[in-house]
Amino acid sequence: MLSKFLAQRESTLFVIIIILLVAVGLRAPRFLEPGRLLSTLNDTVILIMLTMAQLAVIVSGGIDLSVASNLAFTGMATALLNFMFPGVPIVLLVVLALAIGAALGAFNGSLVAWGGVPPIIMTLATMSVFRGMVYLISGGAWVSAHQMTPAFRSIPRVGLLGMPLLMWFGFVTIAVMYVLMNNTRLGRELYAIGDNERSARLVGVNTRLTRFKSFVLSGAIAGLTGLLWVSRYASAQNQTAAGFELETVAAAVIGGVSIMGGSGSVIGAVLGAVFLGIVKNALNVIGVSPFFQLGIQGAVILIAIIANTVIDRRTQVRLGSRRVAA
């Protein structure tokens, strides 16, 4: 039982996270107080959700560099809707955010699946296209706190069973992704086309449709985070989440998701995002000069990626290859 636990990559990362927390705690004990840990986790929810979006695409052998721009666009669109039609119920806005995000994802997905555009190029292009569209729909202006309804602004922090709603959104997303990736046909097909598209096609997987779905899924999650982002910070701007796309890729890779596709687990990706979130939150608390933070982040990402790969290779040699996650 224990050896099986240790053999899993997720547990390795889990142990690394514990070590990291202890190390930070030695320097700044306050960081380990429950309230502070909770707020760190709360701060990481958006990164976790976007990493889930990224996971869906990377596992199938693609990459989605447009998630942050999708977030910015959907966030601006929902904030504008809330501003112009304050009567629209929040539930409907959540549905709309999912729909707008999914539509942007569908644009990516259709051209990747049926237009033959490599995912990295498609999403590199839409990264600037979606970002430009934020400017077009907003006319360059921002949507500020006073233009949002109180209900809209309170979406992320309203409490439900002792936990802020933002966290619930995170948990539900993780749960849905977990079931989807592990217990559904779509999940198996995503792993299959990421592992080997040709053989997936030979065994009857509609590879184009599956690839399309991976982008729709990624887009829908990114859209939802857009709504959460603008309501959390009570401000929708053109620069919202600029540069966030590579962070989600880094989180996924730290979490042991193979950038070449075919392997990677939901739990691993979540832990990868949590790891990155702790690093980002801890650096200022332990008094690292702001000028050193980027370099330390880079070094930590590199070390985590290397450690992951090395450990993974060792366990693979020991247990035999386990490409497709159960």
């Binding site: 701060d43 934020v134 921002w142 500020s144 006073h146 009570a234 401000s235 701007q237 053109n238 600029a242």
Partner: protein, 339 residues
């Protein structure tokens, strides 16, 4: 006269070099409309959208001015240089810049000057080698000191305070912070302690995270000064979310539109800012008069700024429109839809 000569030489070089258009304007004929470019840090920034409105207003009053509003999609010096090059190629008459980098833009603006284009700066300056006049939003010393004074009033001159700035390379932020530190050395602030300066990079999530970090590192924190609009709004949000309203005081520089909600809810008793509309309006007038030859970019020169009255240039050709306006619960709602 010398400028004229240089222009003639440049035109000669152009012709000799085989160029056949877009030469430098020698002198602008009275009946020709002036094209003044407003080059901002980045497009899609609410502050500069307001400055553009001011420039448009001035253009309308002046009559013979066309405003070109441009900026890179992200706030980078390279993006601004690319646009300066395109403005030189278009042969605009003047460029008014709010710069992302005080040094990197200078070679490009010097090229513009060599092509006979009037280069002025507003809001965020570049090295004086590369521009004629700088229209500062307000006096730097006043901005820095007044924020410490405002904070001191809120916390009864005692307790720990922190500063949440934009990016660590933002020149104007650093100058204000320097004056804040100087002001804090005065005897009446002996019970106040500046415990930390953090940088939110003008990103909502980063600023919010830094604010949370401050609450956690300094449980007795009495106040935060954030002299940047994204930072002050994100900090207000963090204070509100953590239930620290009244416990951690907040002031800074913020757009009334972004801050209205928080000031009315009492998260921040007051914020200050100058009027970006006046900045855009004023710099348009300055550029116009310099190009038309109505005013000279020399120390002591007096330039009329339409409705804003007149300004006088100091030794370094710097001037400013006025004092920062203070917004509190009584007046901020009047401005929330303006800028």
């Amino acid at each position: 006269m010398i400028k004229r000569l240089i222009t003639v030489v440049i035109v000669f070089v152009l012709v000799a070099g085989g160029a056949f258009a877009a030469g430098a304007p020698e002198a602008v004929p009275e009946d020709e409309d002036l094209r003044i470019a407003l080059l901002v840090k980045s497009l899609g920034n609410a502050f500069f959208e307001a400055a553009r409105d001011g420039a448009m207003e001035a253009a309308e009053e002046l009559g013979d001015v066309e405003i070109i509003y441009q900026g890179p999609d992200e706030p980078t010096a390279e993006g601004q240089i690319e646009i300066i090059d395109s403005l030189i190629a278009q042969g605009v008459h003047a460029i008014a810049i709010s710069s992302n980098d005080p040094d990197a833009l200078v070679p490009a603006t010097q090229r513009a000057q060599a092509a006979g284009i009037e280069v002025v700066t507003f809001d965020s300056d570049i090295h004086p080698d590369g521009r004629s006049v700088f229209l500062a939003p307000s006096d730097d010393e006043l901005i820095g000191r007044s924020q410490v004074q405002a904070m001191a009033e809120m916390i009864d001159y005692q307790g720990q305070i922190a500063i949440l700035s934009a990016s660590a390379t933002a020149t104007n932020q650093n100058i204000w912070i320097e004056y804040m530190q100087q002001e804090l050395e005065e005897p009446e602030y002996s019970d106040m302690e500046l415990v930390d300066i953090v940088y939110g990079d003008d990103l909502s999530d980063q600023s919010y995270r830094e604010a949370m970090g401050l609450f956690s590192s300094y449980p007795d924190l009495a106040g935060i000064i954030s002299p940047t609009t994204v930072g002050v709004a994100a900090t207000a949000r963090a204070i509100e979310d953590e239930g620290l309203v009244g416990q951690v005081q907040l002031t800074g520089l913020g757009l009334p539109s972004e801050m209205s909600q928080y000031v009315q809810d009492g998260v921040s008793q007051q914020v200050a800012l100058w009027n970006p509309i006046e900045l855009g309006y004023g710099i348009t007038y300055i550029a116009y008069h310099l190009v038309r030859g109505n005013a000279e970019a020399a120390p002591g020169a007096v330039i009329p700024l339409g409705e804003l009255g007149e300004v006088e240039l100091d030794e370094e050709l710097v001037t400013f429109v006025g004092e920062p306006f203070v917004f509190d619960a009584s007046n901020i709602a009047d401005f929330e839809d303006i800028y």
